[in-house]
């Protein structure tokens, strides 16, 4: 699969191969191409800049150490990187649960009245045009899902919640959550077919 045209994917995969050989410049270029996506994903999960920075730094450190474990036949660089970032971000969120309440209360005081605008940044030069194009299709496809299907998928992917947890959170029967998740993923698969077909 690819984030888009095979050329882009192969460039990213080639970079990962160079990273595996200890090429720091390749790591830099990989960051230039994927760092914005990685940070945005981390931020969506952890919700604050400092934590998102930790997550992304750790993720790239892991990539640096273990890039040779990447196998392009098993998925795209973006899927691989996304999984590493997401896993670390969710672990961070969970590990901080106990502290969370304290932090949250502190945040309430310091943030009082402060507006945080999560508007899209000007298209960052970090993102290649193809990645941006793919991102647009993914967002569009997600937006076109029936909201109940979209919600369970977002809660699973970005919230790290299991089907049972989603069922409890939404007060929906577990069977309903399962059906929606499957149906939504199936629709996404169809909608994202152009991105999936470019590789593997």
């Amino acid at each position: 699969m690819s984030i888009h045209p095979a050329g882009v994917q192969s460039r990213e995969a080639a970079l990962v191969a160079q990273v595996a050989d200890g090429d720091e410049r390749a790591l830099g270029e990989l960051y230039d191409r994927c760092g914005g996506m990685a940070f945005s994903l981390a931020f969506a999960i952890v919700g604050e800049h400092a934590d998102a920075e930790e997550v992304v730094a750790d993720a790239f450190a892991q990539i640096w150490r273990s890039a040779s474990g990447f196998d392009p036949a098993r998925g795209s660089v973006v899927a691989w990187l996304g999984t590493i970032v997401r896993t670390r971000a969710l672990d961070l969120v969970r590990s901080r649960k106990r502290r969370a309440r304290v932090l949250e209360e502190a945040a309430v005081v310091t943030d009082a009245g402060e507006t945080l605008v999560l508007a899209p940044t000007a298209e960052s030069p970090d993102r290649g045009a193809e990645v941006t194009e793919a991102s647009a299709l993914v967002r569009k496809s997600l937006a076109e899902l029936p909201p109940p299907q979209r919600r369970v998928i977002e809660l699973a992917y970005f919230g790290g919640l299991s089907q049972s947890e989603i069922s409890a959170l939404l007060s929906e029967p577990l069977g309903t959550v399962k059906t929606r998740m499957r149906a939504g993923m199936e629709k996404l698969r169809q909608a994202l077919r152009p991105l999936l077909e470019a590789g593997a």
């Binding site: 640096w64 899927a79 209360e105 009082a112 977002e154």
Partner: protein, 278 residues
């Protein structure tokens, strides 16, 4: 294939959303089923694309340099395809070596077949086999931690933020507190979708015959009701309310009103938040 019930697990598995017991049994099945393995692989890629759907947030410029500086301090572990089998059979190497898996079905070596469930998870999660044990322990800890999720106010706000953030690329959030330790609320304003989410904490339920009402105020105009809500016995509420067409909200605030709500606020507003214009 349609009567292959295991396939139903592929989508939630790809999203990491199977419950613990289901995940374990499905992973065991995956080690023996090419059909499900192929399905999971494709759905993993679908799920992987969701990574690109997060609203754009620019990383701080220093992050790039930090990553490269960290890298300079550590040499990467390099394995070649030819020593992959050695790496998988030598425990000593597993700790520092990187697991590498044959990709073609024909290349499935016996060791891999036996360990496929672990391998599959390891590929998409932690690449270090040596970390697997830590990870399992961590997962057990997580399982119990997650059981407590529902009781934390943070979880409610965070889950909601997840929903709201992903609803549109330009959702604004404001966290406000009253005077003293409570109550507090986090608002998520999605102008494009014309809705607002309020996640309230430490707000005692309205008295019998009363309700909380959320107001949107456009500069220079009278408050407009956005709807009513109430908190549960633990003082929390998570409510999504539509925003009337044409209302340009500059301030939101909550009042305590008679059941059914009022046409205009009748008590002192609290949990007031100010919003930037569009």
């Amino acid at each position: 294939m349609s009567d292959h019930a295991w396939l139903e697990h592929a989508a939630p598995y790809a999203l990491g959303a199977l419950d613990e017991n289901e995940r374990a049994s499905f992973e065991a099945h995956l080690s023996t089923c090419d059909v499900c393995t192929a399905e999971v692989r494709e759905l993993r890629n679908v799920a992987g694309l969701l990574a690109t759907a997060a609203p754009d947030v620019a990383p701080p410029p220093r992050l790039r340099e930090r990553i490269l500086a960290d890298a300079r301090a550590v040499r990467p572990i390099s394995t070649t395809p030819t020593d992959a089998s050695a790496a998988t059979t030598s425990p000593a190497r597993e700790h520092r070596g990187v697991s590498r898996f044959p990709s073609g079905r024909g290349a499935l070596i016996p060791w891999l077949a036996a360990a496929a469930a672990v391998a599959f998870a390891a590929y998409f999660g932690q690449q270090y086999r040596g970390e697997r044990h830590q990870r399992l322990a961590a997962q057990q800890a997580l399982a119990s931690a997650r059981a407590a999720i529902d009781s934390t106010t943070t979880a409610v706000a965070r889950r909601d933020s997840v929903i709201a953030l992903l609803t549109a690329p330009d959702v604004q959030t404001v966290t406000v507190s009253g005077s003293g330790p409570s109550p507090s609320a986090r608002y998520f304003l999605d102008r494009r979708a014309s809705r607002i989410v309020i996640a309230a904490n430490s707000l005692p339920p309205a008295a019998s015959g009363r309700t909380y009402q959320l107001w949107g105020i456009q500069t220079g105009r009278a408050p407009v009701s956005l709807g009513t809500f109430n908190t549960d016995s633990s003082g929390r509420a998570l409510t999504t309310l539509p925003i009337p067409v044409g209302l340009r909200i500059a301030v939101t605030a909550v009042t305590d009103e008679p059941s059914g709500g009022s046409s205009q606020p009748t008590t002192t507003p609290f949990l007031a938040a100010t919003w930037k214009s569009e």
